[in-house]
């Protein structure tokens, strides 16, 4: 049985080699193949870093390839199993990265981390923990994305609106905005691709149960009879429905593309949006500068912590199959060194894992700096459900959230559906 994947690869390689005439280039110098998403600024950042890196490592050439988001995960997984995979690659921290570690495809970097100048010495331990599984390090965190409620400061000033302190106040705020003009959507959701609402649930679960309250359910370590039985989960869904009833969201949020939601805010048709830190560049492109932000407010009577907020560290992993582990780690450590981290911000406008020199970066808006400063004050990072959870549970959560918003499921039914899948996965893992 162990032979099967290898046999597949063999058949594949042999048959294709005959078709293509088989070509293998012998190279003396070291080539590090790197795969990332094709985010704005990434190719330029990597290109300049590779140039710079050559000064200290003249024999190393970086071969950078970029991918759009959706096919990336698939392509990466297949490539890592096959023989043509990258040496180093971008990944989100969470279930995917963990699975690669578990399946022996990602290299254990623990022994490299603390060498002089290596990434373990420049990146904070909070970030490093995101890629730590069973006490071993499996990734180099490069940045994190966070999420805030952005609002139109000019609109708020004109109508004398206040930033809400609780979730109930946010609902009231939506009603006030609808009272000004019933056609104004206070905060478009745009859940057609399902991840916008799961980001809401990520934070609402935290606001109701707290990070400690959710953790044993998320990692399926809670005993089966208690798994996902906390009343807070249903309450969190009800919170979302209360906001919908308060008129916060647009019509048919599950049929609205997130790009439409983003545009409704950045074209100033809507005064608020719960959006990622990556949304800032969109505001700037649209020439929209009157933007303020606040964290998703706490819930009255909830067990959440106002200091905790949405934070998804992402970074790079090294393939277990790489022929040049030392060079690969050197390269990644170089990318998160003080100077390069500053360059990273300059090119990509992402929140870096190493913020030592963030104040020296030019061309970064005050909004970005304010956001980065706020991220630094988080007491806890809240990782997002669809990245953190087991893939099957995550799929169930995504669908349940859609059905709750469509009112085709009640909050209790939704939690029950999620619990059912979670129990199946838990039972399977135990067997």
């Amino acid at each position: 049985m162990l032979m099967m994947p290898r046999m597949r690869a063999l058949v594949a390689a042999a048959t294709l080699a005959t078709l293509a005439g088989g070509s293998a280039l012998a190279q003396d110098a070291v080539t590090i193949k790197m795969w990332t998403l094709d985010n704005t600024g990434y190719p330029e950042f990597i290109a300049q870093a590779a140039e710079e890196f050559k000064k200290t490592h003249p024999n190393v050439t970086i071969e950078h390839q970029t991918f759009p988001g959706d096919p990336y995960k698939t392509g990466l997984q297949v490539a890592l199993v096959g023989s043509d995979g990258p040496d180093v690659f971008f990944n989100w921290s969470g279930d995917d990265a963990k699975r690669l570690a578990k399946d022996g495809l990602a290299l254990d970097l623990t022994s490299y981390a603390d060498a002089p100048g290596a990434f373990g010495t420049t990146v904070g331990s909070g970030y490093l923990d995101a890629f730590r599984y069973d006490g071993k390090l499996y990734g180099v965190p490069a940045d994190a994305v966070s999420k805030f409620v952005f609002y139109n400061t000019a609109y708020f000033a004109e109508h004398k609106l206040e930033v809400p302190k609780t979730l109930a106040e946010l609902g009231t705020l939506c009603k006030s905005i609808r009272a000004i003009d019933p056609n104004t959507v206070p905060m478009p959701l745009g859940n057609k691709t399902r991840w916008k609402a799961i980001h809401w649930m990520t934070m609402l679960n935290e606001r109701e149960l707290g990070v400690a309250g959710t953790a044993p359910d998320y990692d399926l370590s809670r005993p089966a009879d208690a798994l996902y039985t906390d009343a807070g989960y249903a309450k969190a869904f009800q919170d979302l429905l209360d906001l919908q009833d308060a008129g916060c969201f647009e019509e048919a949020p599950n049929a609205t593309d997130y790009t439409v939601a983003d545009t409704m805010f950045s074209s100033q048709a809507s005064p608020m949006e719960f959006c990622g830190s990556w949304c800032i560049s969109g505001f700037e492109t649209a020439g929209f500068t009157d933007v303020g932000f606040f964290r998703l407010p706490v819930v009255d009577g909830g067990r959440g912590d106002a200091g905790a907020n949405f934070l998804v560290p992402e970074g790079f992993q090294v393939s277990a199959k790489t022929a040049h582990p030392q060079e690969a780690v050197d390269w990644l450590s170089f990318l998160v060194s003080d100077d390069q981290a500053a360059k990273f911000v300059e090119y990509t406008k992402f929140m870096p894992s190493n913020a030592t020199k963030i104040d020296t970066v030019e061309g970064v808006s005050p909004l970005f700096k304010a956001l980065a400063a706020d991220v630094a004050t988080f007491t806890q990072g809240v990782n997002v459900l669809d990245v953190l959870l087991d893939a099957a549970v995550s799929e169930a959560y995504l669908n349940a959230t859609v059905e709750v918003l469509n009112r085709t499921m009640t909050p209790d039914q939704a939690v029950e559906a999620i619990r059912k899948v979670a129990l199946e996965v838990q039972a399977k893992a135990a067997s």
């Binding site: 048959t15 294709l16 759009p68 698939t74 392509g75 297949v78």
Partner: protein, 273 residues
Amino acid sequence: MNGRTRLVAIGMHLILTVWTIFVVAPIGLMLISAFKSQAEIFTKPLSLPGSLNLSAFQRAWNIGIGSFMLNSLLVTVLSVAVIITTSGLAAYVLARSEAKVMKWLYILIIASFAIPVQSVLVPLYQMVSGGHMLNSQLGIVLPYAAFGIPFTTVLFYAFFLEFPRELEEAARLDGCSRLQIFFRIVVPLSGPVVASAAIFQAVFNWNEFLLALMMLTEKSVRTLPVGIYGLTTQYSSDWPAIMAALTIATLPLLILFILAQRHFVRSLAGLGK
């Protein structure tokens, strides 16, 4: 009586006109939206653009629509050439042989026509990946060819069965080999069926999405459908540019079609025979 025929004629024109408007409206919306600003698209969905703004086209072009088109062209031309050549040769042999094994081979070809590409996506992807042909034009041309061959072979087979054998017999008596007969006698008289098959496969491969999505991830090799799909990744929500890109991608083909529509339609109609 005359009045009634007239009424019927008007009715028929009405049906065709309604469908024509239905067909043209989305294409018109695409064109108009490309000239609007983002805010105009979303706040005034039914209005014309406020000004004739070409900037969206420029942004779309800068995303690389030009290179996506070139890639599509290359992949389409290569794969269609491979499909036509290999299918033509194979179909001719299959149609002219009496051997039992040939009948079985023909059935095998028909069976492969029924195999959907999703059914073999994973093994196929692993093979292409294992053969180091991800992100290469050859890597996608070969699967395109393999999936186009069965249908084309069946089409050619039917054509060759009806092809007058007297001509071939005469050439055979003159000492021509099977290959010579094929190229000197059969090919010159097969123009229409080749055109039908080529156009059908070209349209199909030009628009193919799933395999290209999996295999052409590097921006420099992406074909149009994947390139267009990539326009709405995480960070770009520039609808005017998307519509401009769709316009740039669609218009050349549409113009080509309108100019050559007589041949185009006649060729495709040959598929049904």
